[in-house]
């Protein structure tokens, strides 16, 4: 393995070329979404297909600003609130839980671990009815809160299982050193362990965020008011009983990806720096 060592110039170029080829192949479907969104509905169905739009059609983008009750910017804000809320709950609950499972052999630990696994095993469709009744009883029906609480249930078990590995890879000596320095269990956890497991925490936060961001079932079922619905629900404005409006749908997809992609590319830098700072080496 060549980690840490800079590559020779030749290899560097070779790898760059390979990575670009990979990028082109793997991201082709995204390119295809973009191209399709710039075509007219008629050209989309042309046989054989055209690789680039013959007539540049930007009308599909203009239509994204306001379609009926559905407002792109408002739904983006809704998604942001819901995903952020769900991520916060997931991280705050999952980080201590995964630490405990990794480091403490308390009674019922295995059962609990199995519990975390089980809770994410049922398909969403059968959870909807009972969860709906609970949300209604909590007075959260038709509010962001319902979607936040529900979406957090996707992120928590996932984060616990991933972070558990991070915490178990941290040497005991580090923790013990902290106790000698006068830390108790909680302060050691907060000051020493969390910073070390930071890359893992960031990854879990991102995954929780993306799960919540991509969620459709909870957001659509628990929030009936168009004005409070997440962005994903907008897909249904172009997909319905009488068929799919492809140009609008793809334009919607492109517009909805851009802001997340920006957030993500920014975070990527952060993850990488977290990873390479290699706290585990200590």
């Amino acid at each position: 393995m060549g980690e840490g060592k800079p590559l020779s110039k030749k290899k560097n170029i070779l790898f760059c070329v390979i990575s670009i080829v990979l990028l082109v192949i793997l991201l082709f479907p995204l390119f295809w979404i973009l191209v399709t969104s710039l075509k007219t509905e008629q050209e989309i169905f042309q046989n054989p297909p055209t690789l680039f739009p013959h007539i540049l059609n930007l009308a599909s983008y203009a239509a994204q600003i306001e379609t009926g009750d559905f407002n792109m910017f408002r739904s983006f804000a809704n998604s942001l609130v819901i995903s952020t809320g769900a991520t916060l709950i997931a991280v705050v609950l999952a980080v201590p839980a995964s630490y405990a499972i990794a480091k403490y052999h308390f009674k019922g630990r295995n059962a609990m671990l199995l519990g975390f696994l089980v809770t994410q095993m049922l398909p969403v469709s059968v959870l909807l009815t009972p969860m709906f009744i609970m949300m209604k009883n909590l007075g959260l029906y038709n509010t962001w809160g319902a979607a936040i609480l529900a979406d957090a249930t996707i992120g928590i078990p996932f984060s616990v299982l991933i972070l558990k590995n991070y915490f178990s890879s941290i040497p005991k000596e580090l923790e013990e050193a902290a106790y000698i320095d006068g830390c108790n269990r909680f302060t050691a956890f907060l000051r020493i362990l969390i910073p070390i497991a930071k890359p893992g925490v960031v990854v879990c936060a991102i995954f929780s965020f993306l799960y919540a961001w991509g969620d459709l079932a909870y957001g659509m079922t628990f929030i009936i008011d168009q004005k409070k619905r997440p962005m994903t629900a907008g897909i249904f404005n172009f997909m319905g009983q009488y068929g799919t409006k492809w140009s609008y749908l793809t334009a919607f997809a492109v517009v909805s990806i851009i802001p997340v992609a920006l957030i993500f590319i920014f975070m990527q830098k952060y993850i990488v720096s977290g990873m390479t700072s290699g706290a585990v080496k200590g």
Partner: protein, 404 residues
Amino acid sequence: MKTISRRDFLRGAAASTAAFVMGGSMTALADDSTQEVSIWYYWETESHQVALDQVISDFNASQSDYVVTAEYVPYADFTKQLSIGAVASELPDMVIIDSPDHASYAEMGIFADLTEKFDLSNYYQGTIDSCTIDGILYGVPFGVNCLSLFYNVDMMEAAGCEVPTTWDELLEVVQALTTDSVNGLAFSSVQNEEGTFNFLPWLWSTGADTYDINSEGGIKALTYVQQLIETGVMSTECINWTQGDVMNQFISGNVAMMINGPWQIPTMQSEAPDLNWDVALIPMDSEYASCLGGENYAVISGGNEDGALAFLTYATADEQVKYLMDEFGYISADQTIAENQFDEDSKYNLFVEELEYAKARGPLADWPSVSDAISLAFNEVITGTATPEEAAAEAQATIDGIIG
């Protein structure tokens, strides 16, 4: 040029009322006499939503007892949302639903009895049947549509074909129209209600009954579909095409003829204004046949029934019906309106004619299961996984198990 109608005036009034309500929402809410009435519907087409919203805001402006609000619930989610809502007692006051689903929802016991509350004597019988269970009226038809044959006039002329009226003629014509890049015919054959809707005209045209698919007529209809596929005039991809996809294939010139409904016409005219097309009755085997589609209003029992009824009475008055039907590309369920609804040269008139041959599905609480069996049968035939005889026998066994 139109003169300023009452509608336009009300539109303005509605806007100013809305502004007032927004500005003074505290007073509006504090007013106990104003009750909210909520409606769920599933039309994703923007023009449909705008038209419905218009009628609603007109209604809200016309009186001060009720404020109606409508929520869009996607079609794919409608059954789920209604089932869950029924269990959790969290339903709107009114719904606008697909007519074949009406019986199932009524069976849930969530709809109010509307018998004797509306005069439906001028309505098409099929539409009344779709909301009547055991002699009790559980809804009011919103509007109807049915399927007809669309054809590309230029392609027909180039191939030197006449408009077909029988199955034999149709097969000849679509074969002549089929080329390397063009399929002669297409109709949505998705394995769900949409596909069943498109298959039933063929079944009924043989004189066969819906619940008697393993009959001479049933097998004949399936065999005809098999022929369409085997001769290459129809693509097997029809099993993945919704009616909207079929329309897109048609306006893109990939398909010369299609079975589709009048609600596609506004889209076709705006997307492909230069396309030269026309409509005709679906060619017949032994009798003309089409399938009746459309939506019904239903009032939720235990909700704000008075408010829902007040809105329903308003929305089913002639003026509102005409406005809605025109905006939707639908035909009024009220025969007296339907017959004078369109200009003489309008292509919609063919659909009014086709309506005379259109039959309703069900009504049956277990219709979704029957429909599933039927759509499985023609999908098996199209994909070649079963012969028409096998598919018919299998479907019949399922249907017999449901009807008993």
